[in-house]
Symmetry: C2
Subunit: 290 residues, 2 copies
């Protein structure tokens, strides 16, 4: 019943490791982190560690919290021009004085392993298979596919309309594709009668960013639930003083589900794996003779 | 009960005419038509006529049916470079040997008054207000707004997932905007239980391209129905031998509706009006001192 994201992401990583070993050029991904937000530090560190395990080179450039938008743009220019860097990831969220979309759109579309550049988003809409797709949405689809969840013809309710998860995952699931062809309802903070809508869904994808928001009354028996949320909640019993919970009230929802992802250990590891996949893809395209 | 697209589009055109008269530069839109498809001939002719009425210059370049993709791309290059042309529209559908997305993506994003360039589609996803939005989706939203149909929080079912209508109208209606904030379900040929889903909708947007596909059993009392379909069906009683019907079985569905658009005279005229609006916008941006 539990969809094991750790196990499935490891399958993806094992396949990628074999692919990387065959390449004449070692893939290289550059990370840019602005400031010392603990979650961002932890995410980037995990991504670097996974890259190393796969034989992918990684670089990390840390900028101060008060870095100007212009300085960040210049750093991206340098990485865009550097032929030894195949993928670039600017870790979100960025400080408030920086326009995130402007930054994402400045990353060369060919190195946009995060899939947030406006051109790659447009390509996703056009169902262009060359689009780099955002890692979390791609990871959600990969989880469903590798868990043998039928997507075609099913009614999927996506909760949350972010550019990072909700919208691209909706586009991916609705496209004309063996891993698409779903009927997708995009729900969000302004949705009326959310429980009634969610109860009609075969698959629920929760990407709200609100701890345990999806409760048992919103889920019909037999539903597949994918929990994208990664929320820190206070927990004095833990050494760190917090623990990670998803957007789904797991304890009460899980007994109803045909399948469900845990948090942590569900979508999170898939996001990292899909980033590696995009990086390998970017390297191959930029060295098309390898 | 009837949403009068002719009347509402005339309001938009009247407003634009005043705006055009104030401009120091006369807006100019270039049309490219490939072949002599009767519907395309009729659409382009209508668009040119409306442009003239508004004081917008238009040019028409007709290519043979067997024109190569490359020759079409070269013509677009010339129009992209011509400072006297502010907007470019390549009338779809194109012959089978031509890749439509490749053509659409070749039109300069700044002159893409049709809104099909990949960059403008990506901008729409990013909710960037500078995006040129495809004319039919923009026309649908304008019709709803000017008919005082509340969109925010409502459940909209869009039937048809084309890049020209279904997907962009879904994105428009779901965005964080006073004319958006709807919960959107994107339905299509692979949707299971379409009637049951449509019966839960407050607003139905039919963009399937199949005559009278939406029948009374699919529509709950009080629904607002927007019919995007323009289908030719045989009608020996007509001189032309055909007549135009929508995607909705109007005679049986209309009595159930709170509001409904007729075909013709609903969305069609709005598409033309929004094209004019985009052209004026393009001209203003390209001559930002006017």
């Amino acid at each position: 019943m539990l969809i094991d994201g750790k196990l499935i992401s490891q399958q993806v990583l094992d396949e990628l490791k074999i692919e990387v070993a065959k390449l004449a050029v070692k893939p290289c991904v550059a990370f840019i982190r602005v400031g010392e937000d603990p979650a961002s530090v932890s995410y980037v560190s995990k991504k670097q560690q996974t890259a190393t395990e796969l034989g992918i080179e990684s670089r990390l450039h840390v900028l101060m919290d008060n870095t100007s938008e212009n300085d960040l743009l210049k750093l991206i220019d340098a990485f865009n021009a550097d032929k030894n860097i195949h993928g670039i990831l600017v870790q979100a969220p960025l400080p408030k004085h920086i326009n995130e979309n402007k930054i994402f759109n400045h990353v060369s579309p060919d190195k946009d392993v995060d899939g947030f550049n406006v051109l790659n988003i447009g390509r996703l809409c056009q169902e262009d298979p060359s689009a780099f797709c955002a890692c979390t949405p791609a990871g959600v689809v990969e989880l469903l596919v590798r868990s043998s969840v039928e997507i075609q013809g099913k009614h999927v309710a996506v909760v949350g309309r972010s550019l990072i998860v909700g919208k691209p995952v909706s586009l991916l699931l609705a496209r004309k594709h063996i891993h698409g062809n779903a009927t997708v309802t995009l729900c969000h903070s302004r949705t009326q009668n959310l429980p009634a809508i969610l109860r009609t869904a075969d698959i629920i994808i929760a990407a709200i960013g609100s701890p345990r928001f999806i409760t048992a009354n919103m889920v019909s028996p037999g539903t597949v639930v994918i929990d994208v949320g990664i929320n820190r909640v206070n927990d004095p019993s833990r050494k760190a003083g917090f623990r990670i919970v998803g957007d789904v009230d797991f304890d009460n929802v899980a007994p109803l589900c045909a399948k469900i992802t845990p948090v942590p250990g569900g979508v999170g590891p898939m996001t990292v794996a899909m980033l590696m996949k995009n990086t390998v893809q970017a390297c191959k395209r930029q060295n098309s003779n390898t």
